[in-house]
């Protein structure tokens, strides 16, 4: 059984299982939850791209929102100007974002720590505002991104939001499965080797620069997909859809998930979706002032982030693994 | 003023690096601590200077307990540690490295006098006084490290493998200087060395560490003459 779970086929079955579960779930919950489900799936893709880049490859990105923007805008442009079917739009989003990532990654590979952080931050701040300069990008109001109605074959009852949920979940499942395979392959090991000690890795024959650039490229492609999914759920792309706070939120989600492992990605994504709800609930119960509503979500997320970094810096999943490991070691004395 | 170590135990996680050792070094003596790699020599010095926390036991220097305190506090009790690997700060100049050692004393006249004495003993440092420390050769850096330690006007000096990576001629020079300075300043010294012969030659007292325990503990002359020690550590 153990072997089955950890084999390729076993993992594929696992993901298919999740897919079926989600399908059933989607039929039982209300519209709002289904919509949130789509957003959740989007966050899962986005956060996993950061887990790859920061957790496995050790490169800090404060500006992944920019890469989401590139994906989102590419998808919208493909849809509006080429009338491409939705799946092609997503594919274009992935490819364009990955290309951007490849270019950015070659520069980034030469930068360390704070210098890389500064560069990605500048990109996150700078990129969305370009939309105001070029008419084709739709300016401040942005562009429409309409994925169309669900196909008739799914029945009259099938809602728009459910369609979003299906598309997003399918995209997320495929991405996660694919990413898991890559992370477990020699590429994943190479990234971790470079992250641990670049000089030692180079001495072992690994080309650190290439490895880092590859990580950046793949991470960007995934981010582009997430951006396209985001555009789908809000039906538009605009500069204000990709603010700096999005980049920070994604990084927060990655840390909450435990940035070094993919297993906890749901934790981060769930937190990002759920926190505004909790904040609303609290402010409705206790204060009902606009002040609290505006400030509480950000406050909660930040406080959570600080707690996690202080108490479980490697993320809750890694922490549990360590505890289990210690227990096993001590009982084997 | 004596260094009294009793029942010292130091754990690194699950490994017991120092396993219950006790010894005395009288004032003005030079004790050489020798042994194979991993015997616990560096750990011993790091524990005495406060860089590594002790697990149990005690170590007192003229009555006051050295263990379980921060390094900054231990320096103020008259203990100076030249750690392994030429402990100078590469980005600072020679002058700045030296001044660093005397900062906490806040007596600039005394510091000036001490600095002059050190520069007399190591004229190479005087030549390079305003150069950055990373331009110095290995031997010069070791001199600088020792000089920095002496700027604190210690009464107990801990030296960790001063000969590491240095050419034999330079090593001889440095050991000569160590011997001279410590007699001149009336210092008590604990000298950890791989180069067992050179160390025992200038020492009064010898301690052989093996896997965290004391394997032999005698006057230096006796250890040099001891056939087992000679075979194991002195190469003949």
């Amino acid at each position: 059984m153990h072997k089955f779970i950890h084999s390729n086929f076993g993992r594929l079955t696992f993901f298919i299982g999740i897919g079926i579960f989600l399908f059933l779930l989607g039929n039982r919950v209300d519209e709002l939850r289904v919509y949130q489900g789509a957003t959740l799936a989007m966050y899962v893709v986005a956060i996993s791209s950061l887990i790859l880049l920061t957790g496995y490859s050790g490169q800090v990105s404060l500006g992944h929102g920019a890469l989401l923007a590139i994906g989102g805008y590419s998808a919208a442009l493909a849809r509006n100007h080429l009338s491409a079917p939705v799946w092609i739009c997503f594919a274009i989003a992935i490819v364009v974002a990955a290309l951007a990532g490849a270019v950015l990654g070659t520069a980034a590979a030469r930068l360390s720590g704070p210098y890389l952080a500064g560069t990605t931050l500048a990109l996150a701040v700078g990129l969305p505002s370009i939309a105001n300069q070029f008419g084709i990008l739709g300016g401040e109001q942005g562009l429409l991104f309409d994925v169309g109605f669900p196909p008739m074959s799914l029945g009259q009852e099938f809602t728009q939001y459910k369609w979003y949920f299906w598309i997003a979940s399918l995209a997320a499942l495929i991405s996660l499965w694919w990413l898991q395979n890559i992370l477990r392959s020699r590429y994943g090991r190479t990234w971790r080797a470079v992250r641990g000690n670049e000089v030692a890795a180079e001495l072992a024959g690994i080309h650190a620069g290439k490895s880092k650039t590859l990580a950046f490229t793949i991470s960007s492609g995934l981010a582009g997909l997430a951006g396209a999914l985001l555009a789908m759920t809000i039906s538009t792309v605009s500069p204000s859809a990709f603010p700096l706070s999005l980049s920070f939120a994604l990084l927060t989600g990655a840390v909450l998930s435990g940035v070094t492992t993919l297993a906890g990605v749901m934790i981060g994504a769930l937190t990002l979706v759920v926190t505004p709800e909790i904040a609303d609930a609290i402010s409705n119960r206790f204060a009902n002032s606009e002040n609290v509503t505006t400030n509480l979500p950000g406050l909660l997320v930040s406080a959570l982030l600080i707690l996690v970094v202080l108490l479980v810096p490697n993320g809750p999943v890694e922490q549990m693994r360590t505890v289990r490991h210690r227990k096993r070691a001590s009982t084997h004395k | 003023m004596t260094l009294i170590v009793s029942d010292l135990v130091v754990d690194h996680g699950a490994i017991r690096a120092i396993n219950n050792i006790s010894f005395r070094v009288e004032e003005g003596q030079l004790a050489a601590v020798i042994g194979a790699n991993g015997a616990g020599k560096t750990t011993l010095l790091r524990t005495l200077s406060g860089l590594t926390p002790a697990t149990g036991g005690s170590a007192t220097w003229h009555g006051s307990e050295l263990l379980y305190s921060k390094p900054e506090k231990i320096v103020r009790r008259g203990v100076s540690h030249v750690s392994e690997g030429k402990s100078v700060i590469a980005e600072l100049t020679v002058k700045e490295n030296l001044s660093l050692g005397a900062l906490w004393r806040r007596n600039s006249d005394e510091a000036q006098a001490t600095q002059e004495m050190i520069l007399e003993t190591f004229p190479r440092l005087s030549e390079r006084i305003d150069q950055q420390a990373d331009t110095l050769s290995g031997g010069e850096r070791q001199m600088l490290a020792i000089g920095r330690a002496l700027m604190s006007k210690p009464s107990l000096l801990l030296l960790d493998e001063p000969s590491l990576g240095l050419a034999p001629l330079v090593v001889a020079q440095i050991f000569q200087s160590i011997h001279a300075l410590t007699s001149q300043m009336g210092l008590t010294v604990v000298l950890v060395e791989q180069n067992a012969m050179s160390a025992l030659k200038i020492a009064d007292l010898g301690i052989v560490l093996n896997l965290g325990r004391i394997a032999a503990h005698d006057s230096a002359q006796h250890l040099i003459a001891n056939p087992q020690v000679r075979a194991a550590y002195l190469g003949y």
């Binding site: 952080a117 992250r195 406050l299 | 590469a90 900062l103």
Partner: protein, 302 residues
């Protein structure tokens, strides 16, 4: 002609403010090798305190002084209570390099959230202590006023004082030693933890000055979500990275360079390209000199 001169003047003034924030970030980096994103949040808190002082005592200068002191204290507390705990806990593991960045980002969000809850999100303003009306030369109004002169001279003055402290004082020596090699510094008797907190205090004061000097200038609003303070952080950080994070002069050079380039783009090209220009400048500089303009690549040995 006058447009050119005005653009230069605008660039120098805004650049000076970025330099102040860059100085704060460089100070923290040189003391503890951490980028403190919460610096902007601390600057916000300090500026609010300054605002409160102005309301009660009607003196900008007193407010500036107290804001800087408050900034120093807040910053020192952040280091002593928050960062030290963080270093102890997240010192190992793969997240070690990233943890301080993320933690300070979290702290920034926390400070803003709490501020918002406490004082509300309304935009406040501070009246300038000296006139903000431009000087005139032969009938043309320059984009330079007594206030802007004050800003630029304060920056230069602070940079000078801080450089002197760092390079030529005992405290500065202790600060540098603690940053480069904390273990050796401890063995030399330096109280490393305390010195690092002092470095943070200096940075907090510089950040507070940036906030206090920026707010009276034109439209800069004071609120927890203030765009100007966000820009202050982002551009200050970019300026610090351009300069190389290793030198205070670098911070000033980076700030002025950034300010000038952005001013020119704003005036002669287009307002919407300003932000992406910052990115371009940064990446061009880092491609040529990966450790910043004034940073030198030092192979750490010993």
């Amino acid at each position: 002609m006058y447009q050119f001169i005005n653009t230069v003047l605008i660039g120098i003034t805004s650049g000076a403010i970025y330099s102040l924030m860059a100085i704060a970030l460089v100070l923290v980096w040189r003391s503890t090798r951490v980028v403190n994103f919460a610096q902007a949040g601390q600057a916000l808190v300090s500026t609010y305190i300054g605002y409160a002082v102005i309301q009660s005592f009607h003196s900008f200068w007193l407010a500036l002084l107290i804001a800087m002191l408050a900034g120093a204290v807040v910053s020192a507390l952040v280091d002593a209570l928050f960062m030290r705990t963080l270093f102890k806990r997240a010192a190992q593991g793969p997240i070690a390099g990233v943890a301080p960045i993320i933690a300070t980002l979290g702290l920034l969000g926390l400070i803003r959230g709490v501020l918002g809850l406490v004082v509300g999100n309304k935009d406040m303003s501070i009246r300038p202590p000296v006139s903000n009306i431009g000087y005139t030369i032969s009938g043309h109004t320059l984009a330079f006023s007594p206030l802007k002169l004050l800003i630029v001279s304060s920056v230069l003055f602070l940079m000078l004082i801080l450089s002197l402290v760092f390079q030529h004082s005992n405290v500065g020596l202790a600060l540098r030693a603690s940053a480069y090699a904390p273990e050796i510094a401890r063995l030399a008797g330096v109280r490393v933890d305390g010195i690092r907190t002092f470095g943070w205090a200096l940075a907090g004061a510089a950040g507070a000055a940036a906030g206090m000097l920026q707010t009276p200038d034109g439209n800069a609003g004071l609120s927890p979500d203030s765009l100007e303070f966000s820009l202050l952080l982002v551009f200050g950080f970019i300026a610090a990275v351009i300069g190389g994070l290793e030198s205070l002069i670098g911070a000033v050079v980076g700030g002025l360079l950034l300010g000038l380039v952005l001013a020119f783009v704003l005036t002669y090209i287009s307002g919407s390209l300003v932000f992406i220009t910052a990115f371009v400048v940064l990446i061009v500089v880092l491609l040529v000199r990966p450790n910043g303009l004034i940073g030198t690549r030092r192979v750490r040995r010993a």
